[in-house]
Amino acid sequence: MAELPASIDATQQGLRAQGYVAPRELATTAFLALRLARPLFLEGEPGTGKTEIAKALAGLLERPLIRLQCYEGLDLASAAYEWNYARQMLEIKSGALAGGDALFARRFLIARPLLQAIDPQANPVGPVLLIDELDRADEAFEAFLLELLSEFQLSIPELGLIKAVAPPIVVLTSNRTREVHDAVKRRCLYHWVDFPSAERELEILRLKLPGIDAMLARRIVALVQGLRAMDLYKLPGIAETIEWSRALLELNALVLDPATLNDTLGVLLKYQDDIAKVQGSEAARLLAQVEAEVHG
C-alpha cells in the first residue's frame, strides 16, 4: 500500500503514471478527497473517464478496487451481504450444526461489494470502493448508503456491527439519469467531469497509443473536438477517440480523408441520426476545419 500523495502535483503526476491524465481541478478534488477522507462524487457525460479515475486511484495507492455497479432494484442482498441459506440448510439437515447460535456464523455470510469494502478481515488496508452509476439505483438504496458513507460501518442483525478499521476510499459516479439526493452529495466532494480539452485529449491519446503519428493524433483530436461542438445526440467520449484511433491505425491511415472518415464514423458516433448528419458535406467541412487548425 502506497502513502497518500503529499500534494496536488503529486496526485496529478501519480494519476498520470497510472495512465490517467487528470486536469488540475480534478487532481485537486481527488487530493482533497483523499486527505479529508471524504467520498468523491463525480458527475458528467458518459465517456469522460469517471470510472477510470477510480481504477487509477486504486493503482496509485496500490489498493484493491471493489466495484459496485448500481441498477434499478439493487437491494441489500446484492450490494452488502446475504446469508447462504442453502448451505445453512444442508448443515442443519446433515447434523453438522451443534447449537442454534452457530447458524449465523461468518462462514455462512456471503459478502457483497459494500461489506467487502468495510470488512477489516477481508480488507485490512481500506480498498478503493467504486459505486458506479448511483443514479440508476433506487432512492431507498441511497438512504442506506448514507450511514455507510459517513460511519463506514454496517450492522448485521445476526452478527452485530462490522466497522472498517481503515475506511475505504469511495468514488461515486452518476450520469445524471436523475438527481442524486442532496444528503448523499453533502457527504462528498463534488466534481463535474467534462470532456477533455484538445490539449489533454492529445496527451491521453499519446499515452494510450504511444506509437501514433504526431500529426495524425492532432488531426484525430481536432476532428473529435469539432464533432463535440456539433449538436449531436451522443457526443463521442474519450473511449471513442481511442477506439477510433486504433481503427485508423489498423487501416494504416496517415491522413484523414472523407472516404476513411465516412467508413469509420460508426466507431465515433452511436446513433444513426448522428452519422447521417455528419456524413457527406458536413464531414468535408469538418476535415477542412481540421486541416486549417493543424496547419494554423
Binding site: 503529499a6 500534494s7 488540475r24 478534488t29 458527475e43 432494484g73 436523475r178 463534488y190 463535474w192
Partner: protein, 392 residues
C-alpha cells in the same frame, strides 16, 4: 490572523447560499478544513478548485459559482495573501462594484442593499421576438400568478390518475415479495423450519413495478386554458395518495423552451408545487416551438428518463408555428421520440371539438409518429376543468 480567511470563506458561502445554492455550514467548515491541508493550494486555480469541490453539489451551479468566485475573490494578489492567510475582509461597497449582468439572482445575493438605496424600479419587461414565429406570437417573459387549487380539482386530478393506470404496464423488478410459485425463499423457509420441523417451503416472486411515465406538456398561449390543470395532473401523478405502486414520473413543460419540472413537483402541497413551476417557467403562455423543444428533450433528456418500457404522454395541440424546416424538424424529432419509448400517447385538447380534422401542418407532421391520438378529455378531469373555465 487566519480568522480573516475563515470569515471571507464564510461570507462567500453566504453569498452562494443567497444566490440559491445549498451551501450549509457543514460545507463551509469542510472548505476551511480543506484549505488548511498541507500540500494543498499551490496556485490561484487550486484555491478555486478547492472551494468548488467543497461548496458545489450539482452541475447547474457551476456557472453561478464561477461568476461568484471571480466577483468575490477579485483581489489580484489573492494567492500570496491566501497562503499567508492574511486576506482582509472583502468590503462590498455598493458604489464600487457593479453587479454582473449575467445573473440577477447572484447580483441580488451579492448586493442585497442595492434595492434599498436605489428607488424601486418597475420589474423589467422583456419582449423577445422570434423570427421563426408568426408576427402575432411572441415570447412573453413574465411570470404568471396562479390561483390556488380547489379541493374538487385536486380530487379530479387524483381520479385522472386512476384512469391512467390501465395505460401503464408493470414489469418485474429485482426485489421480491412472498407468495406465488416463483423461487424458493430460503430465508423464510429456514425461519419456518426453525419453529416447526416439517414446515412447508416458502416461495417468493419478483415485485412488480409500474413502468415509468414521462409527461411532456405544452404550456404555450394556445394551451393556456389547460396548462394549470396539466400541472396539477402531473403533480397528482408524481405524488399519489397511496405510496404503493407509484410510477416513476418525469415531467417537462415546453413553450419556446423546455423546462424540467419533476423536482419542483416533488413538493407535497399541490399549490406550492404549481406556484414553484410558475415561478420557474419563463415562457408561460408564449409561443410554441414544438420541434425545437422535442429536439432539446431528445438530446438532453431522452436517454436519461426514457426506458424501453416507458410511456410518454405528449400534451399539446400540435399547433406548430413555423416554416417547412420547422415542420420537418418536428416530424423528425417525433420519430426519434417514438423510437425511445414504448408508447407515445398524444393528448390533444383540440380533439374535443366535433368534426375536428387534422388540417394544421404541425398536427399532420406529428400524427404518423404517435401510437394514439387521444382527446384530452379522456382524462375526465381535463374536460371538466375546461368546461369550468369556459363557463367562467
Amino acid at each position: 490572523m487566519a480568522d480573516f480567511l475563515a470569515q471571507n470563506v464564510m461570507h462567500f458561502g453566504r453569498v452562494l447560499r443567497k444566490a440559491g445554492m445549498s451551501v450549509g455550514t457543514d460545507r463551509v467548515q469542510l472548505a476551511l478544513e480543506a484549505l488548511r491541508i498541507e500540500g494543498g493550494i499551490a496556485r490561484r486555480a487550486d484555491f478555486k478548485a478547492t472551494l468548488a469541490a467543497c461548496l458545489i453539489d450539482r452541475a447547474e451551479h457551476r456557472a453561478l459559482f464561477e461568476q461568484a468566485f471571480y466577483i468575490f475573490w477579485r483581489d489580484p494578489d489573492l494567492l500570496g495573501r491566501v497562503l499567508a492567510m492574511l486576506l482582509p475582509r472583502v468590503q462590498a461597497r455598493p458604489g464600487t462594484l457593479t453587479p454582473p449582468p449575467e445573473n440577477r439572482r447572484l447580483a441580488e445575493a451579492l448586493f442585497p442593499r442595492r434595492d434599498a438605496i436605489e428607488p424601486a424600479r418597475e420589474p423589467e419587461q422583456r419582449l423577445e421576438l422570434d423570427a421563426h414565429l408568426s408576427g402575432s406570437e411572441r415570447e412573453l417573459l413574465r411570470q404568471r400568478d396562479f390561483e390556488t387549487m380547489t379541493p374538487e380539482e385536486w380530487a379530479q386530478a387524483k381520479r385522472a390518475l386512476t384512469r391512467l393506470r390501465p395505460w401503464l404496464q408493470t414489469r418485474p423488478t429485482r426485489r421480491f415479495r412472498p407468495g406465488g410459485a416463483g423461487r424458493l425463499d430460503w430465508r423464510a423457509t429456514l425461519r419456518a423450519q426453525a419453529r416447526q420441523e416439517l414446515a412447508p417451503p416458502r416461495w417468493r416472486r419478483p415485485r412488480e413495478r409500474i413502468a415509468p411515465l414521462v409527461i411532456l406538456a405544452d404550456i404555450s398561449g394556445s394551451m393556456s386554458r389547460y396548462s394549470r390543470m396539466l400541472l396539477h395532473l402531473a403533480h397528482g401523478l408524481a405524488n399519489p395518495a397511496e405510496r404503493r405502486q407509484v410510477p416513476r414520473v418525469h415531467s417537462f413543460v415546453f413553450g419556446t423552451r423546455l423546462t424540467p419540472i419533476s423536482r419542483l413537483l416533488r413538493q407535497r402541497d399541490p399549490d406550492l408545487a404549481v406556484a414553484a413551476v410558475a415561478q420557474r417557467v419563463a415562457d408561460w403562455s408564449g409561443g410554441t416551438r414544438i420541434g425545437a423543444c422535442l429536439h432539446a428533450f431528445n438530446r438532453d433528456w431522452a436517454r436519461r428518463v426514457l426506458t424501453s418500457d416507458a410511456t410518454l404522454l405528449l400534451v399539446s395541440d400540435g399547433l406548430e408555428a413555423g416554416d417547412a424546416a420547422a415542420l420537418e424538424q418536428l416530424a423528425f424529432e417525433a420519430r426519434r421520440l417514438r423510437l425511445s419509448c414504448r408508447r407515445l400517447l398524444w393528448l390533444n385538447p383540440l380533439l374535443r371539438f366535433e368534426g375536428f380534422e387534422p388540417k394544421a401542418a404541425g398536427i399532420r407532421a406529428l400524427l404518423p409518429e404517435v401510437d394514439s391520438h387521444l382527446p384530452a378529455h379522456n382524462l375526465a378531469s381535463l374536460e371538466q376543468l375546461v368546461e369550468l373555465l369556459l363557463c367562467n
